[in-house]
């Protein structure tokens, strides 16, 4: 957010009681607390892993962003809307990265029913749409009922083995509904649609009930970083309810075929997924992924084949999704003083300088804070373990 030109004047904003966090140590120095804060900031981690639970790997997530009057509020900088959209961009990328098999993020705004994007499986489009929405003005009162209703109409038709989720970013404290929302909540519950809410201002009763009934989570943000943290909680697939259907899914693993220009037979062709979009040029390319069943061509994976309906993925996608099922155990944290042995991180080979070190319970390798974060957030496997496996 630093690059953002700050539109709000500082004095218009809230009091940030930064001084309250700081505490002097015996010698009157602030150094210790400052370091502690920095350290804490580095190490925010998500950690209670569920162990061996069935997770809903194929997700259909509807993200609904409030765009009522209250989004103009400047308690998030520069205002709630911009801040939210910015974080959403990050969220979308992260989401597709972590849930590559089939991810549907569908975004739209509540009160005006102005769809930002209604396309599945392509993060770029979402991001573009989010960027476009940044400047838009927010007016009027939101209606939780209408938003849920529209989301429900779409999600209703998703297959039963996938998870159906709605995530609402709710900034307002009021909702002007055309009908009794409790009826709708009942329907949502029957359809096994999980609704989660992230509140931007305070706890609203109807959201508490909505999320409790449908099995979602309800959180209220404290500040921007907390907001981001809460959003990231939704990246991880939720545990599947035991009653949801199980089914085998046919999947195709197309090879990427690059036709060399010199090849005379090669003709540029359209990607099936681009046929409907008008704004992105002709989309004629030489190579691509060909559906093993019907030979339709796609430039990007994962995708559902438009022609025969086969789910097309690549093997790495599948593998990436697996880490949710077999999460890497949290490393043991121990103070640096107690650590005996090499003072080097196994991963980056840097010197261990932070207060704590992290030990992998499997191979007892030692890592620094930053590597620990990288391993858990991105790699999802311990490099040292893999190394030893490979060696043996």
């Amino acid at each position: 957010m630093d690059e953002e030109p700050e539109r709000a004047k500082r004095w218009e904003g809230g009091y940030e009681r930064t001084w309250e966090v700081l505490k002097e140590d015996e010698s009157g120095s602030l150094k210790a607390t400052v370091e502690d804060i920095l350290f804490q900031a580095k190490r925010k981690r998500v950690f209670e892993s569920h162990g061996q639970v069935r997770l809903g790997m194929m997700r259909h997530l509807y993200v609904v962003i409030d765009s009522s009057r209250t989004m103009e509020d400047q308690d998030l900088k520069p205002n709630r809307l911009t801040s939210t959209l910015k974080l959403m961009e990050f969220f979308v990328e992260e989401y597709f990265d972590q849930n590559p098999i089939i991810g549907n993020v569908l975004l739209f705004e509540i009160n005006t029913f102005f769809y930002i994007c209604f396309d599945a499986g392509n993060p770029k489009k979402h991001v573009a749409a989010l960027k476009k929405a940044v400047g838009s003005t927010c007016l009027g009162e939101p209606s939780l009922y209408n938003a849920l209703n529209i989301a429900m109409q779409t999600l209703k038709h998703m297959p039963g083995h996938t998870s159906r989720e709605i995530l609402i970013i709710f900034s307002s404290l009021t909702t002007c509904d055309p009908a009794n929302i409790y009826e709708l909540i009942k329907t949502l519950k029957e359809l096994k649609i999980r609704v989660s809410v992230i509140g931007l201002s305070a706890e609203v009763r109807v959201c508490t009930i909505l999320t409790r009934e449908t099995g979602g989570s309800y959180n209220v943000i404290l500040d921007e970083s907390h907001f981001k943290e809460l959003l990231m909680l939704h990246v991880k697939p939720p545990p599947a309810s035991s009653s949801s259907e199980c089914s085998l899914i046919r999947m195709g693993f197309p090879q990427h075929i690059i036709a060399s220009v010199s090849d005379q037979d090669a003709k540029p062709s359209f990607s099936m997924s681009h046929l409907e979009s008008v704004d992105e040029g002709p989309g004629l390319t030489l190579g691509g992924y060909y559906c093993p069943q019907c030979r339709a061509k796609y430039t990007e994976l994962p995708v559902e084949c438009k022609v025969c309906g086969l789910t097309l993925v690549s093997a790495p996608h599948l593998a990436r999704s697996f880490h949710h099922l077999f999460p890497l155990d949290a490393f043991q944290e121990s103070p640096l003083e107690e650590h005996t042995g090499d003072r080097f991180c196994q991963a980056c080979q840097g010197e261990l300088k932070d207060k704590s070190v992290f030990t992998c319970p499997a191979c007892s390798s030692v890592f620094c804070t930053e590597c620990d974060l990288f391993i858990h957030d991105t790699l999802h496997c311990c490099p040292a373990c893999i190394h030893t496996q490979g060696a043996s």
Binding site: L173, D177, I181, A202, E203, T208
Partner: protein, 760 residues
């Protein structure tokens, strides 16, 4: 869990206990040990009721000879029901733990309206109608007539009860109102009379204040209760007003007109009886000569709770000759009535003391003090003799007779104010005679004298020392308990200025000030945008609320508020208010959000709880001083100053602050609840006001929350609401504000607990 409270084994029906509950029980036990009275303040929502019940029941079990009965007085029927439910839980726990069958009898008592099972009578809507109808079916002469003339209707439930009910005691157990009705239906007994009879040997009685404090009712219901009882007044912060109301009499022209009809009826009936059954009147006369000897004997042997309407002198003397015969008495009443009528025909305000009034009445119509004093007793006897079925019709004349007795009995503590018109409508003549009690101790004195221990408790009793002074008793314990909290779930803020730095206050001089009204409006508008679900706003009076709301409407503030939340308004009409309340709750429930504009001292501020989302913020606009120009109040203040050395201002502030505390206390009903308490008046920041708030609120007012502007308030509230919205689990409370038995027994915790109670 089983607790050891200074050597007393107390069964507590929950697995966890709040530290303040433990502390409360300690204090209560000390009160009982000393056989004295106590004043205990503990915040609402911290389990006051169950602590009280657990301890007193345990005490009763341990020392059955010391304490035989618990009389638990509460305010409303739902509160009574709640107490009984808690008691039931406790008793189940006892049975489970000790394995033996309980021989405890506990029951709730309420009016006939809530207990009647007679198909016709119970379908009536108003309490008075039910009482009257019941009386017309169960009075002794009606039943006597029934014997000779079977077509005369009687209540079969009462008949059944009368025939067998008294011999067979009600089986031990816990009875709430519905249980009593069920039991009554099963046996065919009248639940009301059964309950009234059973309270004599019940171990625990739960009923309303009035059964003890109102002399008219107390005489019927409570006078035979054992001396070794413990009396608990719950939610007793208004007990002085209840006492005063129960002793005061207001007489309007309408009352007098209806009295006139009553007197005529009496006269006709006497005439008729005289022709048919003169012996009956002679019998009555003889009885009156004998005097009220019997009643006197009873009082001397200490069987009854003394009745303040029936003073000792009356009992020792026979009814004076001048009113002994029925005709003479009716004539006497007529004269008295005419005198009162003449007094009401005035054009200026008159205030006089009882002796002055007596002197005047003697000069004008030659009515002596002595017969006046016997008036109430004589009328009762007459009504009984004349076999008048519908007592309800005779309420005006009964009222007048009470007035006559009181005015001639008490020369101190009462005042008579005759006003030719109401203050609000000085052009419409509507003369009222207020016979106003200024000394609450008169009504409550018999209770303190009779019962071994009386405990006065509530969430808001600060400052504690004022209650013993105005009620004139000497407590052995006075303590105020704080609320131990795992998170600061209440946030009192004192807003003193608007964003334009204009001071906000509801004081008289600035009341009409445009800037103040606008700032109040802005405050509500800003709060409506950031507080979720329900906001309750209290004004100091209906008039003030009307003015402000009208002015907000003109300034367009209301329109802006309505974009955030719906607005509901309390009115003096009970039906309208309960409708508004219902809709308010609905709006909070389905997320639209709502604001309830109500009045301190109104119905909403007293009995209605706004748990969780129903009240996320309470805004108190102004300091709710009582209307100080009222003559009754002025007389009372003067009396307090002269008799109890309480300065006017002290009392007014005390009264205002206890109402303010009541209002803001509506939002917090437990430890998991949270709410903002906004005091919108700069006068709250002063130490004399702030110091009179209950300790559990005062603790959370830091210097940083005094004299804020509106936008500062908004910032603090936003921060608070976000903090509170973070997940809060029971584990977070454990060890801090919620204890297991082991934790309770640790030295460290006992040390902490000893600090919770602050002795006044």
């Amino acid at each position: 869990m089983k607790l050891n409270i200074e050597g007393l084994l107390v069964y507590f029906p929950y697995d966890y206990i709040y530290p303040e509950q433990y502390s409360y029980m300690l204090e209560l036990k000390r009160t009982l040990d000393a056989k004295g009275h106590g004043v205990l303040e503990m915040p609402s929502g911290t389990g006051k009721t169950i602590s009280l019940l657990s301890l007193i029941v345990a005490y009763q079990k341990a020392y059955p000879l010391e304490v035989t009965k618990l009389i638990y007085c509460s305010r409303t029927v739902p509160e009574i029901e709640k107490v009984v439910e808690e008691l039931r839980k406790l008793m189940e726990f006892y049975t489970k733990e000790t394995g033996e069958k309980n021989n405890f009898l506990a029951l709730a008592l309420s009016s006939r309206k809530n207990l009647c099972i007679h198909p016709e009578v119970s379908s009536l809507r108003f309490g008075k109608e039910v009482d009257g109808k019941c009386h017309s079916l169960t009075a002794s002469y009606i039943r006597a007539q029934h014997h000779s003339n079977p077509s005369q209707p009687v209540c079969r439930f009462y008949e059944e009860f009368d025939a067998v009910g008294r011999q067979v005691p009600i089986p031990s157990g816990i009875y709430n109102l519905d249980d009593l009705k069920d039991f009554g239906r099963k046996k065919g007994w009248c639940p009301y009379y059964l309950a009234r009879y059973s309270i004599l040997h019940a171990n625990i009685v739960v009923y309303s204040y009035h059964y003890l404090l109102d002399p008219k009712i107390a005489d019927l219901v409570s006078k035979e209760l054992a001396k070794k009882s413990v009396v608990v007044f719950d939610e007793a912060h208004n007990i002085d007003n209840v006492c005063i109301d129960s002793m005061s009499v207001n007489i309007t022209r309408r009352t007098l007109d209806r009295c006139q009809t009553n007197v005529d009826t009496l006269q006709n009936t006497i005439q008729r009886i005289k022709e048919t059954d003169a012996a009956k009147l002679r019998e009555e006369y003889r009885r009156l000569v004998e005097g009220l000897k019997e009643a006197n004997v009873a009082r001397e042997t200490d069987i009854y709770l003394s009745n303040p309407v029936l003073p000792d002198e009356v009992l020792q003397e026979a009814i004076p000759g001048s009113i002994r015969t029925a005709e003479h008495f009716v004539g006497f009443l007529k004269r008295f009535l005419e005198y009162l009528k003449a007094r009401l025909r005035i054009h200026h305000v008159v205030q006089e003391s009882s002796p002055q009034f007596l002197k005047d009445i003697y000069e004008k119509v030659c009515i002596d003090r002595k017969p006046l004093r016997f008036c109430a007793e004589r009328l009762r006897s007459l009504l009984r003799t004349l076999e008048i079925a519908d007592i309800a019709d005779f309420s005006p004349i009964t009222l007048i007779s009470h007035f006559a007795t009181l005015v001639s009995t008490y020369s101190k503590g009462f005042t008579i104010i005759i006003e030719p018109f109401e203050d609000k409508t000085p052009t419409i003549a509507n003369p009222v005679l207020h016979f106003s009690c200024m000394d609450p101790s008169i009504a409550i004195k018999p209770v303190f004298e009779r019962f071994q221990s009386v405990v006065i408790t509530s969430g808001t009793l600060s400052p504690l020392d004022i209650y013993p002074r105005i009620l004139d008793f000497r407590p052995v314990t006075m303590a105020s308990f704080t609320m131990t909290l795992a998170r600061t779930c209440l946030c009192p803020l004192i807003v003193g200025r608007g964003n334009d730095q204009v001071a906000m206050s509801s004081k008289f001089e600035t009341r009409e000030d445009f800037a103040v009204i606008r700032n109040y409006g802005n405050l509500l508008l800003e709060m409506s945008a950031i507080v979720p679900d329900g906001i309750v706003a209290f004004f100091t009076s209906y008039v003030y609320m009307e003015n402000i709301v009208a002015s907000w409407y003109e300034q367009g503030i209301l329109e802006n508020i309505q974009r955030n939340k719906l607005i509901f308004i309390e009115t003096p009409d009970a039906a309208e208010t309960s409708m508004a309340l219902e809709k308010y709750q609905e709006a909070c429930e389905n997320g639209r959000g709502a604001i309830l504009l109500s009045v301190a001292r109104g119905k909403v501020s007293e009995g209605i709880d706004f748990v969780h989302h129903f009240g996320r913020a309470v805004i108190m606009f102004g300091v709710p001083y009582v209307y100080t120009q009222s003559r009754i109040l002025k007389a009372r203040l003067e009396y307090l100053r002269d008799q109890f050395q309480i300065r006017e201002n002290d009392f007014l502030t005390f009264d205002a602050m206890r109402h303010a505390a009541q209002c803001v206390g509506r939002a917090i009903r437990g430890k998991t609840d949270y709410g903002l308490m906004i005091f919108a008046d700069k006068r709250y920041a002063r130490a004399d006001k702030r110091g009179k708030l209950p300790r559990w609120i005062q603790e959370h007012i830091s210097d940083g929350s005094l004299n804020l502007t509106i936008d500062e308030t908004v910032q603090l509230s936003k921060h608070f609401l976000r903090q509170m919205a973070q997940p809060f689990r029971r584990e977070d409370q454990l060890g801090l504000s919620l204890l297991t038995l082991e934790q309770l027994q640790s030295e460290e915790m006992l040390e902490k607990i000893s600090q919770i109670a602050q002795q006044a």
